[in-house]
Subunit: 142 residues, 2 copies
């Protein structure tokens, strides 16, 4: 059992700060389309999709070590689409696009087989009602 | 319809960066109990519970404006408990404790009536399979 915490405080207007021990504060605000400031702040919605993509990265790095994958680079984009529903605004689509470069064709095959393991072992994406769609693009440097 | 994005990159070892346009990068890493560095990084799990608490704050501030609540201060702690299950590690408890100070008894009554609206209108907590338990503590300065 592991417990994870974060402190969130209101600072002013539609702004807040996310804090944790020995970590840099994160300035957050309501997104501009709901009355928050135009620029410079993370919205909770962006942090949410970022936390999903961060969990996918963290899960991926576990398998990189376990399977001795020659990782060169890893970039990802997380997307969440919020739609009006009869129950209020709801995330109707969640996805993470991964662009991964590895050393060899063998590494590429290993990564391509990982998709279902990432879906299964990332606890943040597994906590969502909606499935998190993963799109894997793998290249090699050779 | 609104779409939210975040970029997540691998930087080195078990570390990464979360990026977005016009926003400060967030340094993230696998938590220490899963082989990440001991200190100084946000884990995806902490960012996840932070995004839930941030969404609750943002939803709360919407009602503060709408109902002209005299808000003095707002602090919250988000907690997520990860347990081993037959399916892997899963969040088995998600909660946010709110400590709110308002100006008058009338403001306090308004805030105490908001709990179900926060649960209903925060899209991040509504996206979770597990219910997000809210604990509301409201004080007045008078």
């Amino acid at each position: 059992m592991h417990t994870y915490e974060a402190q969130v405080e209101w600072t002013r207007e539609k702004q807040g700060a996310i804090k944790g021990p020995n970590k840099a504060d994160i300035s957050m605000a309501t997104p501009p389309e709901f009355g928050g400031p135009e620029k410079g702040f993370w919205s909770p919605e962006e942090l949410f999709v970022g936390s999903i993509a961060g969990c996918i990265l963290s899960t991926f790095l576990f398998f990189v070590e376990k399977s001795s994958i020659g990782l060169v680079s890893y970039q990802s984009t997380a997307t969440g689409r919020l739609d009006k529903t009869s129950e209020g605004l709801r995330f109707q689509h969640l996805g993470v696009d991964l662009r991964i470069t590895v050393k060899t064709d063998k590494d590429r095959e290993k990564v391509e087989r990982l998709k279902s393991s990432l879906e299964k072992y990332c606890p943040v994406s597994a906590a969502q009602k909606q499935p998190v769609h993963l799109e894997l693009n793998v290249e090699t440097t050779n």
